[in-house]
Symmetry: C2
């Protein structure tokens, strides 16, 4: 900033003048006009960064300064775009915008000639190249392509960062430089994204959101209101497409993003960043109040969709190990805090221990105190899917506690999630102590690893990972739900029958589906029981009902991680290689063992040891039940599928209806340092299940005592009810109860 | 203590009287005579515990007090001994002595009636039961049995803790109580261990050490010098057996324990504890000076045998995940610090963040300051095996650095390690960033998990884990080394040809063996190269020579953890189940893929991704080379073998000599949070190997440049040498050199 501008700004009272005087320093090439930031880091924010006493702010600035020092030592290279994801030119262009953004941030915080030279040369290099580019040579049919990259998505992300970099630094550039950058780079990119790639720009999809955010922010900085309006309300400015429409349709009423947390995490950045830009430039839109504060829900729902280590539940197409420490989430959480002042976000921001270089980042950091907890509360909750909240959802059942060691069960019955969805309605995954116990496989993809088909989705994503059998779900007749047809699945939804998670002792979710298999009603209830008298750990009762017009082979699959330590059933291991089935993902599973319940037994038990803890699955079985232990790896010529084992309970094709009744029980610990074992055995035995008048009646023995658990399958069966068991009557209010007999 | 004793002690100046006055408090039943501690926690130590300002001391005391509070709430149960390891009675007796020890410690630090009652009742209960016991019902043939436990070892450990508990608390017991405990429990246990179990007591084996330590300490406390002398010098008091003989024969000259770190860690406790007791009671033995301070070497060598997370290298029969945080190591490190004042131990003690309840514990804690580092230096080193240091050993090659991210290669050519040894001479395992990259399988055992055959070693330990093929080693003709005969292997040793690890840029170890296979000389050299010009990470050159009188099939096996991400060779995956071989562990490996080098290729490359980092093995191969990817799990009816994959390079039976030449190269990182990939590709190509005049000549291309690496296979080839390569001469001093051509 030059003195004239500073004077004006001071007179207007916009920024704190004490600190602003240091900005600019002795760089003298700055034009005064139109150089104040339009986007996310304002002069106020810069002043706040400089004056903050927060350690995280200081560390953030130090880190930026160190990383910029490294960036400035290397020559700028702007390669001809030739490679797909993971290849040199692809990664280099990504690196360039990320580094440009860092240098631009650094320049705005501490202007220096060498940074300015870097910025000038980088912009100039791209402005020279961009007009010469046609479509990228690795551009694929059926996938929107770019010029700098094989896919247009990366192009939008690049503009997203370039326009922010330009916003922060154009005040230091000459008019000629600005003209060239705007004319040869920024406007052509915005045109490519919004006009040449019209379809993506107007798509209700995260690729569309990146496009509208990048183009909209470009419009704000260049003062092009037409660009801004097209971004917010769609190319036709009718609100049918564009940012608001995306906000309305991509998030459920509870802020759930149907592709799942992996894409939610990615999409949240353009949503929240563009929203902040709109708030700054078009405050009359009241974007943060839109749809009852949907952006707040989008952020908190995303944060809640994590295990104890802050890793996102890998539902649908997901790369595992992605945590809330991703820059996108840091960014989103900062802005959500700034706008909504939701104190529940502060522990997360504290644990992240880093902030975005935005006004919101420094505001969030300054709000953290010694009293801010190091623990994020993850209560049980139902997250509704669908714009109206009526299209199924996720039941997150989590043991009530405020220390580590939470048992988490995820019952998934959300909508398909478009092309990135999996056919896993009513599937269950389980996490304990931050470890995957009964995992969701996630995606078959080695992101950005070029040797694995350019880092793209692998064929096995469609042939295995998306199929029902890759999940903790029931499969009928070895066919995936909805016959594996995305379009058909997108048209139908499952339903929450009941979600009652308020109790400390009993939490219940019931989900139902009537469209995944023709003529078949499916319903699954998961009950989490916290009853220290029974077990020192919470445990789950899993009841899965199939009720069909015709008879089916019914497979209940429990993927698990860990070593098999006990099998209370008879099995043999096939001598010859045996694959579980022909297609629908069954073709990728090798049968390690095939068995049947012990003679005259009514229960089957399977125990495994994962991350030094014991887990047992106790199931009601009968003489016709078949049991399998399977492992991924069959028909996988390129070793694309990760190692994964499954325990599968099969009822052969002789019934039209059946209930799979199981108890899933964490118990005990092997301490490898002390070499001690506690509670290595399941406490559950004699598990029985029957139905009576719309009620499930489950009984089991635990520690010598018999327990009776009853659950109404209906939503509103809350009145006083009596059931008969073993010749006695038991009565209670409400839909479910656990009684010691 | 009563006042009379305190007065005497004060007059003698033995303890600090300020603090001693609080000991005893208002408990009035204490006899004065003979009640001062003979063993590891003296009145001085108690005073030091109470006066220390160290946080770790305070936390240790707080933890003790909290855990004793819990112990005292539960009733004492002393079950009839019936169960094997992992079973109730087994675990309960273990729990009892551990809890008795804690309460006794607590009583000596803060005497209370309820603790005394607990101690009295626990001792009384065991004194009532012990004389009634015969041998344990689960006593096994060929394994020394106990009375309280299925094996005598646990009995010795029990007395080890009971005598320490008694030592600390007998001053609070009546003479009658003491008489009964000594006559019915302590002396009978000592008699059982030293006389009824004469063989174990006089064995040069860790079970013997536990016995002599327990019995010797009992002798010290009961004032039975005969017991003490038998423990120190063997039943015949001739020094041929007993503690000193064990100290002389169980540790190599470098303090290596041939069974490996897992048993070393276990054995170190009776060694160090009994040594401290001898130092206190028989100082003229000068036990800590014995054999040039062998106990100091035993402790530091144990600590050095760890990966970056402090986990012991799982060589020989080992349970993984065991760290230096084990109580035994805490104990040993404390006493070693007290006796030797070796400051290099302090960072470890600081990182352990806990101490033993001994005089040594509080001395160690008080020695830690803010300046004590949080980093344990693990330099490269050769650890010689054998009493004279001439029986092979371990070469630990570790990249030079003082931050995290160390590459560690372990070349093992130590002695067999008795019954717990593996047939893995010249085997290699690799660790990087604290992760297992090329692992040692360890033992086939689920310790203390009763459903896994009572927690004992599983049959697969002998049929798989101990075999050569389970290791990163060469196997000839699908037979294990020494034909899998322990006795035969025990009689022969391998040799260190050369270990030069002083350089930053090049570190070399060469090991040789001429007895593992009849008429065959084996030699393996591992070179660690740190040359930033070539690669930003250190890497390994692995040269394995086989030179035999007859021709053999030669298999070089590289076990690995991680996902296969690239294979630069042709392979097919067998349609039918294919097991690698019939026996010697080959019968447990399923062939996942079988292949051969690419047509006309002279190199084969295999890349995998483990813990988000990339690793490539580039090997010289020829048209006859066969390649396999194998996986454990064949012929494993009880799922006893952990999942493990191997990359195997086979030269078919057509040569009498061969050199396997490979580069093992860590490179790159996939950041799952940022979703960025760096250095995903190996930089090595065109790897060649030839021999010239006793020198290995290795050339390779890296980053466009050719490098020449030469290494003399002889120990003393240090003079100026010239080799011809590509028509040019290259000269240098020394046995090895890396030159950029």
């Amino acid at each position: 900033m030059n003195w004239k501008l500073i004077l004006i700004v001071c007179l207007l009272g916009v920024v704190s003048c004490e600190d602003s005087t240091t900005a600019g320093g002795d760089t003298t090439t700055i034009e005064a006009t139109n150089s104040s930031s339009k986007l996310l880091l304002s002069d106020d924010g810069i002043a706040d960064f400089k004056s903050s006493n927060s350690d995280v702010v200081k560390n953030t600035l130090k880190e930026l300064s160190q990383s910029v020092d490294v960036i400035l030592t290397a020559p700028i290279e702007i390669p001809q775009p030739v490679d797909a994801g993971g290849g040199y030119s692809h990664e280099k262009h990504k690196q360039n915008y990320a580094e440009l953004y860092k240098v631009a941030l650094s320049q705005s915080l501490d202007p220096q000639e060498d940074k300015l030279t870097y910025i000038r040369n980088m912009f100039d290099g791209y402005a020279n190249m961009y007009p010469t580019l046609g479509m990228h040579p690795k551009d694929k049919e059926n996938h929107p392509g770019g010029k700098l990259y094989w896919q247009g998505l990366n192009e939008a992300v690049t503009l997203f960062y370039m326009i922010q970099s330009y916003d922060l630094t154009r005040g230091y550039l000459t008019e000629d430089e600005r003209l060239k950058i705007e004319k040869d780079l920024l406007r052509p990119m915005a045109k490519f994204l919004s006009e040449d790639s019209y379809e993506v720009f107007n798509k209700i999809h995260n690729h569309g959101t990146w496009s509208v955010a990048a183009v909209g922010m470009t419009g704000m900085v260049l003062g092009d209101d037409d660009m801004v309006q097209r971004s917010i309300y769609g190319s036709n400015k009718d609100g049918k497409t564009g940012f608001i429409a995306q906000l309305d349709h991509l998030f459920s009423s509870d802020g759930f993003y149907s592709e799942g947390p992996y894409y939610h995490r990615y999409a949240i950045l353009p949503f929240i960043a563009f929203a902040q830009a709109i708030e700054n430039n078009e405050p009359e839109v009241k974007i943060f109040e839109h749809r009852d504060g949907i952006l707040r829900k989008a952020v908190t729902t995303l944060l809640q969709l994590t295990d104890e280590q802050g890793r996102f539940y890998p539902i649908n197409d997901a790369i595992k190990s992605k945590t809330w420490e991703s820059d996108e989430v840091v960014f989103a959480t900062n802005i959500a805090y700034k706008q909504y002042k939701d104190a529940s976000l502060l522990p997360v921001i504290k644990m992240m221990n880093k902030i975005s270089y935005t006004d919101a980042g420094v505001i969030a950091a300054n709000a953290i105190t010694d009293d801010t907890e190091d623990f994020y509360n993850r209560p049980s909750m139902f997250i509704a899917d669908g714009v109206e909240g009526k299209s199924g959802g996720l039941a997150l059942m989590r043991s009530p506690q405020n220390t580590s060691g939470q048992l988490q069960a995820v019952l998934k019955f959300s909508t398909q999630g478009m092309g990135h969805g999996h056919f896993d309605r009513l599937s269950l995954s389980v996490y304990d102590y931050g470890n995957e116990i009964m995992p969701d496989y996630g995606a078959a993809r080695f992101l950005n690893i070029e040797t694995k088909r350019g880092g793209r989705y692998l064929p096995e994503n469609k042939t295995y990972a998306q199929h029902t059998i890759a999940h903790g779900a029931v499969v009928l007749d070895e066919k995936s739900q909805y016959k594996g047809n995305v379009k058909y699945s997108e048209e139908h939804v499952s339903h929450a029958v009941k979600t009652d998670m308020s109790g400390e002792r009993l939490q219940v979710s019931i989900a139902a589906d009537s469209t995944a298999y023709n003529g078949t009603n499916l319903s699954r209830s998961i009950t989490m029981i916290n009853e220290p008298e029974i077990s020192n750990r919470p445990f789950l009762i899993d009841l899965y009902h199939i009720d069909s017009k015709t008879s089916h082979q019914m497979d209940l699959n429990y993927p698990f991680f860990g070593d098999i330590i006990d099998t209370q059933f008879d099995y043999s291991r096939p001598v010859n290689k045996t694959v579980l089935g022909k297609d629908n993902g069954y073709n990728h599973l090798e049968v390690l063992a095939q068995g049947s319940p012990k003679s005259n037994a009514t229960n089957t038990q399977f125990s495994f040891l994962q991350a030094q803890r014991f887990y047992s699955i106790t199931s009601v079985t009968d003489a016709s039940t078949q049991l399998f232990i399977t492992q991924t790896g069959a028909n996988d010529p390129e070793f694309n599928i990760n190692l994964q084992r499954q325990y599968l309970i099969r009822q052969p094709k002789n019934k039209t209806s059946h209930t799979f009744a199981s108890v899933i029980e964490p118990h005990g610990f092997f301490d490898p340092v002390k070499e001690t074992v506690t509670y290595p055995k399941s406490v559950i035995s004699n598990l029985k299940h029957e139905q009576q008048d719309g009620y499930d009646i489950v009984t089991f023995n635990a520690g010598g005592a018999m327990y009776l658990y009853t659950l109404s399958r209906k939503r509103d069966n809350n009145k006083n009810h009596t059931i008969e068991y073993n010749g006695k009557s038991y009565s209670w209010d409400g839909t479910h109860q656990l009684i010691k007999l």
